[in-house]
Every structure is written in C-alpha cells, then in structure tokens.
Subunit: 595 residues, 2 copies
C-alpha cells in the first residue's frame, strides 16, 4: 500500500491553481485550464507527474464531494419553476446529440455500451462559465440567460438519471428480463429510500439537532459527509454509481433542513474542499489519461464526435425550441450557449474509462470535445446574441422579480411608486403607522422586525431580486443587509448610507454584505423624506446623451447643484431600476431625480 | 492501485463521529473515543474494518492538515508572553518523562532510536479537553489554567523541534560527524527558508492579493493548501518529516498576512476538514494497529511506560515548577493537568511505527498510555484543584485583562469606574466631546468609528478580555459586537439591548456575535444615562445570601421594584465584573446596583 504522496499532489494542485487562474482571466472556466494543464504535464506530453494512489483517491473523493456540491446547488423548487422554454431546450439539446453520439460510435464499430456513454457525454450541458460569461456579455437579465440556466440544470439531472439507468447494467453484462426487473427494483428501492430519507428523516435530524442547540459547524459538516458517503455507498450497493448517491444527498441538503446559515456555511465548505482542493486533482489527472495520438490515429472519429457534439447540441436545441414560440434565432443562441461540456461530462467519461467501457482513445476524444466545445461558447454566444440585439429580439426577463424595500417612509414610497410600474414592490417596516400608510397607497407591507427570520419569511424576501434598505439609520441598513446576505441569496442589495453620522456606516462593511450604495453616494435622507412628506419637491426626468457612470453623473451634478437626489434610471424599454453606485447609464436612458 | 473505498471510509467516519460524540458527553476529548473505537472495530477485536489505501491516504493527508491547523492555532506572540511558570512547567514536564521513557526502553532491550521516540511520546503534553475541562472545573480564570495552556503550547513546540532533529537521522542510520553536519546544514537551510518565506514572502503575497481585491475564499484556501503541502514536501526533502513543514506553514499563516476575516474563515475550513473529516480517520485507524496481546505479552513494559508517563510528567512538573515560587501544590495540579497525551503523541508514535523504529507492541503501549493518561486528567485535576481551593491557594489570573467599552456616556463611565478598580478600562466613542470627557475623568478613550479596523487597532482591542457595547443604539451595539467577533477573538462580549425599539435589537443576533446581554435583561438605558448625568441616582451594594442566577435576581427585584439597574458583581476577593445574562452570583458575592 502506497503512502501519502505529497510531492505529486503539490505539483498537480499548483498546476491546477495556476492554469485555472490563467484561463479564468480570459473568461473561461477553471476546469478548462485544469484539463489542459493535465494533458501538458501528464504522460502524453511532458511526463512531469505520474499518477499515484494519492492522486487517484483524492480525486475520486473529490468527485463524490463535487457531485454532492452540484446537488446542493440544484434547487428543485427552481427547477419546478423553470420555463417551458428551458425544458424544451434541455430535452432537445440532450436527446439529439445523445442519439447522434450513440450512432456514431456504434456505426464505427464501438459497443452499444460505449455508444450510450459517448451519447451521454455529448448530450450533457455545462454552463461554460456559469454566470460569468453572461455578465460579460450583458445577458444576465435576458430570457436567454434564464433558459440557459434552467436548461443546464435540467440537462445535468437528465444525464444523471440516464446514467443511473445505464450504470446499473454495466456490471451485469448479459441482460435478460428477470435481471432487468431485479435491477429496476433495486434502483426504485434506492430512490424510494433516498427520497424518504431526504424528505422525512433528514428534516427530523435537523429539528432534533436544532432542539439540542447543536450549533457547532464541524458537527454538521461531519454529519453531511456521512450522509453523502452513506448514500453514495448505498447507490453502489444497488448497482448504481456512487456519484449518483452523492448527488441525491446534495439535492436533499436544502433550505429548511438545517438553519439557513448552517446550510450556507456547509455548502461553502463543500465548495472549498471540492472546487478548491480535490476536484481539480480529478480534472488534472483526467488530462493524464489523454493520448495525443488520437489526432493521428483517430482524427476522423475525433472530428466526427466533435462535429456531432456541435451540430447535435445546437440543431437539437433549435429544433426542440421552436414550440416555445421564442423564434429559431433565440433557439440558436441558446444552443450555442449550451454547447459547453464540463465537470459532469468528464466525470462520466472517466467512469467509462475506468470500467473499461470506452477506450483511452474515446476518452481522449471526449476530453478534447469538452475543451473545444467549451472554447466555442463565448465566441458563438457573442455572435448569436449580437445578432439578436441588432434585430431587437433580445428579450429581457427576470426570474426573481421585484423589489423589497426596508422602510416605508415617504421617500421610500416615492421610489416604490416608480419601481412598481413594472415590478412587484414589497415594503417592510417595524412602524405600524408607516406600514398602514403604505398599504393605503396600494402597496404590500409587512409589519415586523427585519432581523427576525419570521419577518423575512412573511415577506417572502427570498423570491425577490432586489433588497433596498432605505431607513434613516445606517446601522439598521447595514445590519439588515448583512443579515439578509447571511441567510438568503438576493442578487442585488442597495442600501442608503448617511455621511458622518458618527458610529457605524462604514463603507467597509458593504462588501461583507455584498451591497452597494443606493443613490450612488452617501446621502442624509432625512431632509429628503421631509421634502417628499411636505410635497415640497420637483421630479425631473432627463435623457442621457452619452454613456456615463452613475457616480460620475452625480459628481457632475453635485458640482453645479447640490440639492438633487437621483431616484431611478429608465431604460429604453421604459423599465425603471434604482439609481445606485457602480451602475452605468447608457445613451438614451433617462434619469429621474428630485430636487 | 486501489480505487476509492467509500464503504470503509463511511464506517470509520461514522464510528469516529459516534464515539467522539459519546465521549465528549462525559467530558473527554473526541480523540479518546476515536482511538477506543478504532481498537474495538479494528482487527484486534471485532475486525469489522480493515485498513485500505483510501484510509491510509485520507488519514495521512488528515495528519498534514491537522498539524497545519495546530500551527495556525499557536500564536507566537502569545507564546512570547507565556509566563515563566508556564515555561518551567513545560520544560520539566517534558524533560523528565522524556529521559525516563528513553531509559526504560533502552534498558529493556530497545534501540536508542526507539527510546528517543518513546521519550518524545511520554514527554508530549496535550490539554486533555482544551478549555472544556477548565470550564467544567471553574478554573478558566485561574493561574493554573494559563500555566497549563502556555505549558501545552510550549511542550508541543518543544516536542516537534526535538522530533525534527531526531527524524532527520532516521533514514541515515549510521551517524558520523560529516553526516551530522550535512543534516544540520540542511535543517538550518529549511528553517531559514521557511522563516524568510513566512516573514517576508507570505505577507507580500497577502498584500498583492489584497491590492488586486481578491476576496474569493476558495482562492485563499487553495493557496494555503499549496503553502502547507509545499513546506511539507520541502521538509521531507531535507530529511525532516512532512508534518513539521505543515506545522511551520500553519504557524506563519497568522494575523496580518491576509485580511483578518479571511484568515479566520480559512482557519475554520482547515478545522472542519481536519478535525471534522480526515484526522478522525487517522485516529481510528491508529486504533487498528493496536494489539491487545500486549496486556499478556508485555504487561510489565506497559505498566512501566504508563508509570513513567505518570510519574515523569507529574513529578517533573512539580520539580521544575518550584523556582516559580507558586508552590509545589500548584505544581502538582499543573502536572496532573498536563498529564494527557493526544494528537501529537499519536502522530509521532504512528510515524515511529510506519518507519519501523518502534514495534507494534510499543505502538500499542503508547496508544494505551495516551488513553489512560487522558482518562486520568479530569479525576486528578479535580482532586488537586479542590485541595488548592480548600487551602485557599487557587490563584486567579487573567492573561487578557481589561474591559473595552463602546460608548463613553455617563452610565458607561460609572460602570467603567467600578471596573477600573482592578482592571484596565478603555473607551471608544465616535463623539469627540464624550471621549474628552472620559479622558478628563482619567480614562483612556479612542475617538473613532468602531466599525473600522483602524479604530480597533488604535484601541488594541484584541488584547482585552471583555468587550462591552453600551450605546443607546441597539443596532450599533449588535453590529459592533458582530464586527469584533468576525475579525478578532475576545472571550467575553456583553451588549446593551433596548426593548421594543422598533427595527433591530433581535436577540437572535446575539448568538451569531456570541455575545450576551449586559444588565441581564433588555433595558432602555437612555433614562439611566440621564439620571447619572444629573447625579439623580443612588448606588446600593447588597450581599447575596444564596447562589442565584443573574436573570433570576433581576426578575425577583423587578417584581418588587421596577427602577433598578444592576451594574457589577463583586466577588469575595473584591474584584468586580459586569452584571450580565447567564452568570451566577455566588453566596457572599455582592451586587452593586443603582436606583
């Protein structure tokens, strides 16, 4: 039995870190750098590192933890809400390349089992760079982005379910009816047990631990590891692969089972350990198994599989996307966006190689296919979305919509009126009178303490897109924003900061709450509240003639006129968004301010 | 090459978790349960699990991460401040059992190398239950507690240095002068490089990353793993054991290198991964290597080594402790408290076994020695400290002393006056006038924003024992306490909470700041500040005749008299502590309140 091999682990981790950081700089996901550096330092090129027990075991443990983490990040409630369009894209983008991949392999002499593996591998979708590329291309608020995200999630789940069915037959080989029934029975038992465990037993464990005031994060971490390893082993016992059990375990470790804060903390630890330590070892060593000879010996098959991956994914998406009524051009954009392959594909290909179902050549081709398709995503997606943009067919969409505003003072209500034109607006205030006043003006208002989870639940805060803290008290604004950030995910948090209000109000804290400043600068809102209260203000709308940063616009106007408070920016379609720091006002957008 | 062995990993982790949880309930450290359950489920008894590559590699990785974590927890500044008494106890408690252990082994026919290993193993000190047992025995504030903590840290460091010197000779075998010089040169080079890296290069990396606004926790985690593995491998290359490199890496990952919050976060991740996952695998599998036959075949040696461990540690401590002038009885208490062995001993014994320096019998004896000595600590320490208590020789001591009070209002100054009788008191206020007023009354006061790190540094907040937030603003109190808790370690945090002050003020947040309520109940302090300001109050001192909880005392008085604010509790030696929730007032202690 070999001992712990620090040297190779160090070299592999260092290479993964360096390559991941470099590739992320040019906008690609770390996994691409990890695969490439694995090919480079591995036996096929430089031969700097050879695989060892340590690398194998750490990377296999990493895959288990990674799949659990991927499961944790999938929210079935979100999947349920996923649009019809996302479902169509996912199915079309899976089924067509899956079928094509299967036929390519079987028609070129591969086994049908190898065909199924390659089919899954070309069918899988990975959001090439998660939201990063969508941010870079300014797509985050478009319908395409939501279709892509829903599509990738559904596709992952679909691929894993099919892989589940498939993997259970791997070890059996000969397949007759009674064996199929036995296997199917075992699988059904597994999922029945896992579901019962996840929906009934796990929440009870959570409640029991909460009732005993166990708050030690390490205890929860160990417990969740046990659940992940336990379900993983159980999956192996019924003939499924361990990664499926880990994935299912991750899916059930969700909101409501433990304290929200504990769940969030532990998810981050799983992220750190898998993405920051063990999974990169897997992806680099996956590169070790790649042989460059395929470019000579199997170039045709390589081109064929890559071609099938491209054509199947993109055309399949376009085709199945037609019934959505969103047009084939948007389908094309979605198809190009879903063309990347990543972690799940490499994991499945690795299992195929390990079990001897696919050859090293096919494995190498699948790795290059992942690299090439992922490389294509930013290029093709830029083309297709620019095309849509030019034709005016880039449709905006918000899955989380609406604004939650803390503080129902007159200024907040004025802002709320603007925002409510296109979106849900919900107020929270601890003052009963202010809340009633807001209700009289037709708003929803929850009367309660923002720092209590019950208030957040009553206001369904977590379904909102924006959290705005607009009280006169810096500390409340900061604390509320931090509290919301600690236990929920809300994409945008804007808070009012008053200048020189003594203690509190440190801008440093903004980053820990990942919030930015409403109105784009420190403002004492008390006088503004008074002005609005007394109707002693004038609302002005100006059209911007040249793109400008929100901060610069305020600075420019401050230099001329000190008494101006920008409320919202109106985009060209008429939609209003709060005026805040670190935003940019495009040409022809309007600013509405009061003075 | 074996693949990843989930089943055995699951069984071992589950056993570790269960046994650790059980043994912690009766006040012992988890490692004791892990060793015992390892003996039980391992080959020597039930034979449920056998060792596998997965277990070996995960446990060796765990030892590396554990040693890095132990290094992170050692603060050389604290070591520098460690008392003369602690140093004496550590040296005496190490040298005497070390020598005795060495002679027992060599005189019974063991090699001198085995003698040195056993010497280190019996010499090591582990604080059996860290602070847990000290809390249970009510010793946390005594001089003994500080001597014990300093002693254990020094002893760990001492043991590792001697082990460093020793381990470099293991692989060489024959020892002549030129070889010794070569080895010594390599070791010096290693430590010179590690020190230069830790003191000069690492802080620069930290600054560079801060300057590039890299705040991604996972990036830092991977970086620290690379540093730990890198120094660990470097140590191996110069002939030292990898655990030394990991330990040294941990020591240098300290305050000031990275953002305090990042360092704290990453330290917790190392804690979760080592203590919550990998290290327990090591300790359980250590139990696998134990043979119960030693009770038959080597009972004499077993008794001899356990006897030497007890007698050497306790008598050595008593003897060397005499020059401290704290008396031999206190030395005896310190000796019994330092009698436990734990992680470091098992790690060193494991290395000895792995390298073939000690036999499986000696290894088993060392494991039993760890179990027995650790079991003895609570019993013996209870006896010896009760004896001291009865003789009135249990001396109190605070290493972190003093109170930092946020808010320099008249009520705060009144509380400060009481606390300043025996301790340093420092005020922080953002209001210049209040701060000057405090200075006029002879207090130190830092004028600044509590939420900025510069203010905390100016006030040297981290050297204080107690943080008291006494402003009229709930949110400032909470936010400040949370901020202090996020970036520093301050043992006690007490904050004022006003009732029904609208938003904010949720008791829920107290736990996330690990603070408790000053005055033991929600109080609106504004009227009290006014009363003190106008000298319109009366100070009353009452002696308590029966032990009572602070909350109950307040409830009892509230039912009779609503206008009373308890300030401090005076213990029998005349020392005053702030009146707060979740404290108990002993018989003959006094309460000073105002009305």
């Amino acid at each position: 039995m070999e001992g712990f091999d620090i040297l190779n682990l160090f070299i592999v981790l260092l290479s993964a870190w360096g390559a991941g950081a470099l590739i992320k700089r040019i906008g690609y996901p770390a996994i691409l750098g990890e695969l490439l550096v694995g090919v480079i330092i591995g036996p096929s090129l430089l031969g700097l590192v050879e695989t060892s027990s340590t690398l194998v075991i750490i990377s296999e443990a990493g895959v288990i933890l990674l799949m659990a983490y991927i499961g944790m990040e999938i929210n079935f409630k979100d999947l349920g809400k996923a649009s019809w369009a996302g479902l169509l894209a996912a199915i079309g983008g899976f089924v067509v390349p899956f079928a094509l991949g299967y036929y390519v392999v079987t028609l070129t002499g591969g086994t049908s089992m190898a065909g199924l593996f390659v089919g899954i591998a070309v069918g899988v979708t990975s959001l090439a760079t998660k939201s990063r590329i969508l941010v870079d291309l300014g797509l985050l608020d478009t319908r395409i982005a939501y279709v892509l995200m829903a599509g990738a999630l559904i596709s992952d789940t679909l691929a894993l379910i099919i892989f589940a069915g498939l993997s259970s037959f791997i070890d059996v080989g000969a397949v007759n009816m009674s064996e199929i029934l036995l296997i199917a029975g075992k699988i059904i038992l597994f999922f029945a047990f896992a579901t019962a465990f996840g929906l009934y037993i796990l929440p009870r464990i959570g409640k029991w631990m909460a009732s005993r005031n166990i708050e030690n994060r390490t205890t929860y971490f160990t417990l969740l590891l046990l659940i992940v390893f336990g379900l993983s082993e159980l999956a192996e016992l019924v003939g499924l692969h361990g990664i499926l059990g880990a994935f299912v375990a991750g899916v059930f470790i969700k909101d409501g089972v433990f304290h929200d804060k504990i769940t969030k903390d532990i998810t981050r630890v799983f992220h750190d350990v898998s993405i920051g330590f063990m999974a990169p070892i897997f992806f680099v060593t996956a590169g070790f198994h790649v042989t460059l000879d395929v470019f000579k010996t199997d170039l045709q098959l390589l081109l064929l599989i890559v071609g099938v991956a491209f054509a199947g994914k993109i055309l399949g998406t376009v085709l199945f996307y037609l019934p959505s009524g969103n047009g084939w051009r948007e389908g094309l954009a979605v198809g190009t966006g879903m063309n990347g392959r990543g972690a799940v594909e490499i994991v499945i290909a690795g299992i195929g190689l390990q079990k001897g179902i696919i050859t090293q050549e096919i494995f190498s081709i699948l790795v290059f296919m992942a690299i090439i398709t992922t490389l294509s995503v930013p290029l093709l997606l830029t083309w297709t979305t620019n095309w849509l943009k030019k034709r005016g067919e880039l449709v905006k969409q918000f899955s989380r919509q609406g604004h939650i505003i803390l503080g129902a003072n007159p200024l907040a209500l004025l802002l709320g009126k603007h925002l409510a034109e296109a979106n849900k607006v919900m107020f929270i205030d601890a003052n009963k009178g202010l809340c009633e006043n807001a209700r009289n003006q037709g708003f929803d208002c929850v009367h309660g303490n923002i720092l209590e989870e019950s208030t957040l639940n009553e206001a369904s805060v977590k379904d909102f897109r924006t959290f705005i803290a607009l009280t006169v008290n810096n500390e409340i604004n900061l604390l509320a924003s931090q509290f919301v950030n600690d236990i929920l995910f809300i994409p945008e948090k804007f808070i009012v900061i008053s200048p020189n209000k003594g203690e509190g109000g440190s801008i440093n804290l903004l980053s820990s709450a990942s919030a930015s400043t409403l109105f784009s600068s420190k403002v004492d809102i008390q006088p503004w509240i008074q002005k609005v209260q007394d109707s002693n203000y004038k609302e002005v709308e100006v059209t911007i003639t040249k793109q400008i940063d929100t901060r610069d616009w305020v600075k420019f106007h401050e230099s001329k006129n000190n008494t101006l408070l920008p409320l919202v920016i109106v985009d060209r379609s008429g939609t209003k968004r709060p005026y805040r720091y670190n935003d940019s006002i495009d040409m022809n957008e309007k600013v509405i301010y009061i003075e």
